[in-house]
C-alpha cells in the first residue's frame, strides 16, 4: 500500500485516558459486530426488509474516524451505515427498530436500513444513491463556514463512488472553496461484485486528491488507532485551516455486498476473505490491549456479555415496538403548514 499511514506503536504502558479510549473503541467495534450479526439474522427471518448492507470487517473505520469528531460536527454516509450510526452514538434500539420499520426507529420506520437519520447528533443520514451524499457532506461544511462556526463535516462513501461524477464535482468545489470537509473513502476492495481495479483506472485512489488541490492520505483501516490518528490530522486541517482532506481508508468487508450477495464464491475466494480476517480490526486492538495489560480473557468475556445484552435488548425493543400509524403514510411529505 503505497503511502499508507500505519501505526505501529506497541506501548507497554499507556495512560489511563488512553486506556479508557481504547476500551471504549473496543466496545464500540464489538457492538457494531454483534449488532450486524443480529441484523443479518433478523433479515434472514424476514423481520428486516429491503436491502441490508452489513459493516462487518470495517468497524475500525467508523469507530476511529468518529472518535476524532466533536459532537456538533456533521456526519453523513451511504447505505452501509449501521456501524457509523452506532459509533456516532445512536442507540442500538433506535437503529434496530428502524431496521424493523417500527415507529420507534430513528427515522420512524420510514427510512429503513439505508436511511438512518438522527439530527440530534447531526447524523445526517444514510443515502442510497451512490455518491449522492458527497455533495451533501460538502454542503454541511459550506454551511459551517458560512455561519462562521468551526464545525467540520465528515462524509463516508465507498471506493466505487470515486468513479462517479458527484465525487469529482464536489471535491473540486471543496478544494476550490477550502471547505472544512473530510471525505472518507472506505476502500473495501469491491463495489458490489467489482474489484476496485476493474472500476478505477488507478487504484491508489487517494491520489485523486491532487486533482483538487487537496491533501490525500491512505490509511490502514483495520487499525483503529491509525484511523483515529489520520482523522485527527484531517480534523485539524478542517477546523483550523478550513481545508478539506480525502482519506482513503483501506479495509475489507467480510460479508456479501448486501444480504442477497454471498460472502464469497462469485467474485472473490473464500481464501481471500479468510486472509483478510487474519487482521481483524477488533483483534488488532484487542491484541494491543492485551499487550498493554489492558485486556484479559475475563474482561473480554465481560465485554462480550454487555454487548450481547445490549443487542438482545435492542432486538426485543424493536420486536415489541409498535408499527407506525397508517396515517403516517401522508405525513412528512411537506413541512407542516405554518412551520416557518
Amino acid at each position: 500500500m503505497a503511502g499508507t499511514a500505519t501505526r505501529s506503536r506497541k506501548e507497554t504502558e499507556v495512560s489511563e485516558a488512553t486506556a479508557a479510549e481504547w476500551r471504549h473503541w473496543l466496545r464500540q467495534m464489538l457492538l457494531i459486530r454483534r449488532f450486524e450479526e443480529k441484523a443479518g439474522e433478523a433479515y434472514s427471518l424476514g423481520k428486516v426488509g429491503g436491502f441490508c448492507h452489513l459493516y462487518i470487517g470495517q468497524e475500525a473505520v467508523a469507530v476511529g474516524t468518529l472518535a476524532a469528531l466533536r459532537d456538533d460536527d456533521y456526519v453523513v454516509s451511504a447505505y452501509r451505515e449501521h456501524g457509523q450510526a452506532l459509533a456516532r452514538g445512536m442507540s442500538a434500539r433506535s437503529v434496530m427498530a428502524e431496521l424493523y420499520g417500527k415507529a420507534t426507529g430513528c427515522s420512524h420506520g420510514k427510512g429503513g436500513s439505508m436511511h438512518l437519520f438522527d439530527t440530534s447528533i447531526n447524523f445526517m443520514g444514510g443515502h442510497g444513491i451512490v455518491g449522492g451524499q458527497i455533495p451533501l457532506g460538502a454542503g454541511f461544511a459550506f454551511s459551517a463556514k458560512y455561519r462562521g462556526t468551526d464545525q467540520v463535516s465528515l462524509c463516508y462513501f465507498g471506493e466505487a463512488a470515486a468513479n462517479i461524477g458527484s465525487f469529482h464535482e464536489t471535491l473540486n468545489m471543496a478544494g476550490l472553496w477550502k471547505l472544512p470537509a473530510i471525505f472518507v473513502m472506505e476502500n473495501n476492495g469491491y463495489g458490489m461484485g467489482t474489484a476496485v481495479g476493474r472500476a478505477a483506472a488507478i487504484t491508489d485512489l487517494f491520489e485523486r486528491a491532487a486533482s483538487y488541490n487537496m491533501t490525500g492520505v491512505a490509511v490502514d483501516g483495520q487499525d483503529v488507532l491509525a484511523v483515529k490518528d489520520a482523522t485527527d490530522a484531517a480534523v485539524q486541517r478542517a477546523r483550523e485551516e478550513s481545508a478539506p482532506t480525502l482519506m482513503e481508508i483501506r479495509t475489507y468487508r467480510y460479508v456479501g455486498h448486501s444480504m442477497s450477495d454471498a460472502a464469497h464464491g462469485t467474485y472473490r475466494t473464500k481464501a481471500e476473505v479468510e486472509q483478510y480476517q487474519q487482521r481483524d480490526p477488533i483483534e488488532v486492538l484487542a491484541t494491543r490491549m492485551r499487550d498493554a495489560g489492558l485486556l484479559d480473557d475475563d474482561s473480554m468475556a465481560e465485554l462480550e456479555k454487555g454487548v450481547a445484552a445490549e443487542v438482545t435488548d435492542a432486538e426485543k425493543f424493536a420486536e415489541e415496538s409498535p408499527e407506525p400509524e397508517l396515517s403516517e403514510l401522508h405525513t412528512d411529505v411537506y413541512a407542516p403548514e405554518g412551520e416557518s
Binding site: 437519520f117 443520514g125 461524477g165 405525513t331 412528512d332 416557518s340
Partner: protein
C-alpha cells in the same frame, strides 16, 4: 405601483429576502461577478458579498447537492440553474435528496431550498436549450413547483418560495425577463398554490402559466371580436395545483382549453384535464383540449420554431372547437 421588468422584480425579491434573513444565500454559475447570465442577480454581489452570492464551477449536480446539504442544516439556499435544461444533470439531487429527505428521515430534516432559473424556449436556441420541464418536477411529491407569468407574481412568489420550508422549483421564462408590469410598492408576498384569474370571461376557460399567459390573453382578445368571452386563469403554481380555482371557473364556463409550453405527453395539461373530468365531469359541455408545444425536439430554424410553439391563433381555433363554432374568415 412601480412598473418593473420581470427581471428586476426577481432581483428585488432576492435582495429583500437576502436582507431579511441572513440564512438566505444565492449560488450558481455566473451569479456573482458576472451579475447573472441573465442579470437577475445584478448588484447582489456588491451588496451582500462573496459568501452569500456564490459563483460556482459548471457542476450542476455538485452545487445543487451542496445547496441541499446547506438547506439540511437550516440555511435557505437559492440555487440558480443557468437554465433548467442544464438542471437535468442535477435532477438526482432535486428528486432523490431534496424532495425525499424529510420523508426518509421521518420528518427530522427539512430542506428549505429554492431551485430557480429560466425554462422553456427562448428564440432559436435549438433542441437542447428549449425545454419546459414543469410536468416532470410537478410529478414528484415533496416538491413545490412555481412558474409565474408577470413581474408582480414573480416577485411575490419568489419571496414566498424562499420563505417556504420545502424544496421549491421556481421556473422563470427567459423571454419574460424583459417584460414589464406593475409591481406593488413595499413588502408583499403571494401565496404558493393559488391560481389567478387574469381575465374574466364566461364562455370558456383558458388555463395557462408562465409564457403562455400572454398567448392566452392574445387569444382572448381575438375571440372577443368573435363574441366569445374567454376567461384566462393563470395557474402560477403548478404543484400544489389550485384545483379549486380551476373547478370554479370551468363550472361557470363549461369549457376549457389548456395552453402550455411543454410537450403534450403527460404534460401539465394532461393533469389539469384529468382533474376536471374526474371532479366536474357533468359540468363539461365539450372535451377539455390542450394547445402545447409540437411533439418534437425544438428546431433551430425560426419559422419551424414558431410553428412548434403554442400561439394565439391555435388557441383561438381550439376554443372554436370546444365552442363547436366555425372559424370566422
Amino acid at each position: 405601483m412601480a412598473v418593473l421588468t420581470y427581471r428586476d422584480a426577481l432581483n428585488q425579491a432576492l435582495r429583500e429576502e437576502l436582507a431579511r434573513d441572513e440564512n438566505v444565500f444565492l449560488m450558481g454559475e455566473e451569479v456573482a461577478e458576472y451579475n447573472g447570465a441573465y442579470k437577475v442577480s445584478r448588484g447582489l454581489l456588491e451588496e451582500f458579498g462573496p459568501m452569500r452570492i456564490v459563483d460556482t464551477p459548471i457542476a450542476e449536480l455538485g452545487f445543487a447537492g451542496i445547496g441541499v446539504g446547506a438547506a439540511m442544516t437550516g440555511l435557505r439556499p437559492v440555487i440558480e440553474f443557468m437554465t433548467w435544461n442544464f438542471a437535468l444533470l442535477a435532477i438526482d439531487q432535486v428528486v432523490n435528496a431534496a424532495a425525499k429527505v424529510r420523508y426518509m428521515s421521518g420528518g427530522q430534516i427539512g430542506c428549505p431550498i429554492v431551485f430557480r432559473g429560466p425554462g422553456g424556449a427562448a428564440l432559436q436556441l435549438g433542441a437542447q436549450h428549449s425545454q419546459a420541464f414543469e410536468s416532470w418536477y410537478a410529478h414528484i411529491p415533496g416538491l413545490k413547483v412555481i412558474a409565474p407569468a408577470t413581474p408582480a407574481d414573480a416577485k411575490g412568489l419568489l419571496k414566498s418560495a424562499i420563505r417556504d420550508d420545502n424544496p421549491v422549483v421556481f421556473m422563470e421564462g427567459e423571454m419574460l425577463y424583459n417584460t414589464k408590469g406593475e409591481v406593488p410598492e413595499g413588502e408583499y408576498t403571494i401565496p404558493i398554490g393559488k391560481a389567478d384569474r387574469k381575465r374574466e370571461g364566461s364562455d370558456v376557460t383558458l388555463v395557462c402559466h408562465s409564457k403562455t399567459l400572454s398567448v392566452a390573453l392574445k387569444a382572448a382578445d381575438k375571440l372577443a371580436q368573435e363574441d366569445i368571452s374567454a376567461e384566462v386563469l393563470d395557474l402560477r403554481t403548478i404543484r400544489p395545483l389550485d384545483t379549486e380555482a380551476i373547478f370554479e371557473s370551468v363550472s361557470r364556463t363549461h369549457r376549457c382549453v389548456i395552453v402550455e409550453e411543454g410537450w403534450p405527453f403527460a404534460g401539465v395539461g394532461a393533469q389539469v384535464a384529468y382533474e376536471i373530468q374526474e371532479n366536474i365531469f357533468d359540468e363539461l359541455d365539450a372535451p377539455v383540449l390542450r394547445v402545447t408545444q409540437a411533439d418534437v425536439p425544438m428546431p433551430y430554424n425560426r419559422a419551424l420554431e414558431k410553428a412548434a410553439k403554442p400561439d394565439p391563433d391555435t388557441v383561438a381555433a381550439t376554443v372554436r372547437k370546444v365552442m363547436y363554432v366555425e372559424a370566422e374568415s
